[in-house]
Amino acid sequence: MKSVEIKNLNYSYNVNTPVIKDLSLTIDKGEYVSIVGHNGSGKSTLCKLMIGLLEKNSGSIIIDGVELNKDTLNDIRHKVAIVFQNPDNQFIGVTVEDDIAFSLENDNVPRNEMIPLVREYAKKVGMLEFLNKEPSYLSGGQKQRVAIADALIRRPDILILDEATSMLDPNGKAEILSLVREMRKENPSLTIISITHDIEEAYLSDRIILLNEGEIVLSCLPNELFKNREIIKKYNLSVPFIVELKMRLKDLGYDIDDSSSLNEIGEKIWQSK
């Protein structure tokens, strides 16, 4: 089943500079897609269009079978949740508990239902013991986990991570990535769209979409993208170390196509000596 269907989408901030150019894209339910591309390629604009924060010039966006327009905007915002880049810009509540409850308050959820729900989602993101803590006591990774709880508690069909790990230290990043893995296990029908510069992170997804100047250059399995040296060079993408190592060793004449770990690659080298 289709989760997102975008057809011939166009958008420009001003007349002379189109940001999204006749873009069409389909994402299946439960798929985990990474959108990569340099700054200014249109990644964030695309996400903002999908949740109706920006209004398209032309084309259509269909979320879970419902076309996005003024009448359906509210329904669609219930289907799509987004976590932004900066952990400090998304914390509204005085405490973790307040912050997670905030989105429920907007939906008029009664208090007696709200309390157990907040606890449940705090637990899901591993923040149960921090319920009464103020944001100044939390690390960046912890704040982003609260932002994910805020997003998930409204039970969206689609979760958009807009560079959600890019301001975190390595521990914070690892926390969020393992949380994403758990979320998918628990709810296989949750569609995840991750905008990222972190290539190791994109490597974990089902599919990578490469955007450049508002157009899709490539949409393929992570491994296929990393094998495409022309594309990697042309669009200045970084690749995981092991991928780069294999490419470079191949140039030196080592046959390492079927080696999948650094140990196996190493073996080939010291055996050939």
């Binding site: 700054n39 690390s139 890019s166 230290d169």
Partner: protein, 281 residues
């Protein structure tokens, strides 16, 4: 002249039940004219330390010597702190959030005007600083808010360079940038160092430590755990430091362990490794 940290201690929320020790009798030297990385987990004392290097924080005990400046616990002894801040400047994390002027050149010139320079002089110096970070004329009159993340960061760095500090401290200079943006910033840092500036980097990125620094300092739980070169650090047991050894370095070590003739000191990036393997083959 040198940068010396002598038996420095510092606590936040002193004499309260919530007192937090940030630095505990820390001593080391930072060589001039080199690039030194300071690493350590969140809360290890890195930020406290760099703020002391330009007198934003004063030690509770011990002292710092930065060339002919001295930072001590006693406020009245730190008379030249304004000059110290011209000598040692910090580019904080995500400095682009501090941009606020309506044009790029005005933003870069802002600090200079604070130091008493005339409008036209400060704009002139701002142009030079913008050239240093690779932003040409076409950027002068633009609003800093319409630039890309990487460009904004370079404008913010230009604002510091305009003051022409001798020692430049950068806190997570590439965080949040795309690969191209990161590369530009790292090349800029190298270039500044080549032109004589002492660079101190605070980073979590071990590839930056390996590829771009001459020396590395590890802070762990408010104390000094290690000082030396990156390759010395990565050949040690680092399991207590919450440091991830770069995969490149691990791989090079693995080859060396299997009797391959790898000069581990010279492995900074993939090119170095491939070149050494070419020799072996």
């Amino acid at each position: 002249m040198a940068i010396k940290i002598n038996d420095v201690s510092f606590s936040y929320l002193k004499k309260t039940p919530n007192e937090v020790k940030a630095l505990d009798h820390v001593s080391f030297e930072i060589p001039k004219g080199k690039i030194t990385s300071i690493i350590g987990h969140t809360g290890s004392g890195k930020s406290t330390l760099i703020q002391m290097l330009n007198g934003l924080l004063l030690p509770d005990s011990g002292f710092l010597e930065i060339d002919d400046f001295k930072v001590t616990s006693e406020k009245r002894k730190n008379k030249r702190i304004k000059d110290l801040r011209k000598h040692v400047s910090i580019v904080f994390q995500f400095p682009e959030y501090q941009l606020f002027e309506e044009t790029v050149e005005k933003d870069v010139a802002f600090g200079l005007k604070n130091y008493g320079l005339k409008e036209n002089e400060s704009i002139e110096k701002a142009h030079l600083a913008l050239k240093e970070v690779g932003l040409d004329k076409s950027f002068y009159k633009r609003s800093p808010f319409e630039l890309s993340g990487g460009e904004k960061r370079r404008v913010a760095i230009a604002g510091i360079l305009a003051i022409d500090p001798e020692i430049l401290i950068l806190d997570e200079p590439t965080a949040g940038l795309d690969p191209k943006g990161s590369e530009l910033i790292l090349n800029l840092i190298k270039e500044l160092n080549r032109n004589g500036k002492t660079i101190i980097l605070v980073t979590h990125d071990m590839n930056i430590v390996l590829n771009h620094s001459d020396y590395v300092i590890v802070l762990n739980d408010s104390t000094l755990s290690f000082k030396g070169t990156p390759s010395e650090l990565f050949t040690r047991d680092v399991s207590n430091y919450s440091i991830e050894i770069p995969e490149l370095f691990k791989f090079a070590l693995l080859l060396k362990e299997h009797q391959l003739n790898i000069d581990i000191e010279k492995i900074k990036n993939v090119d170095d490794l491939i070149n050494q393997l070419k020799e072996i083959k």
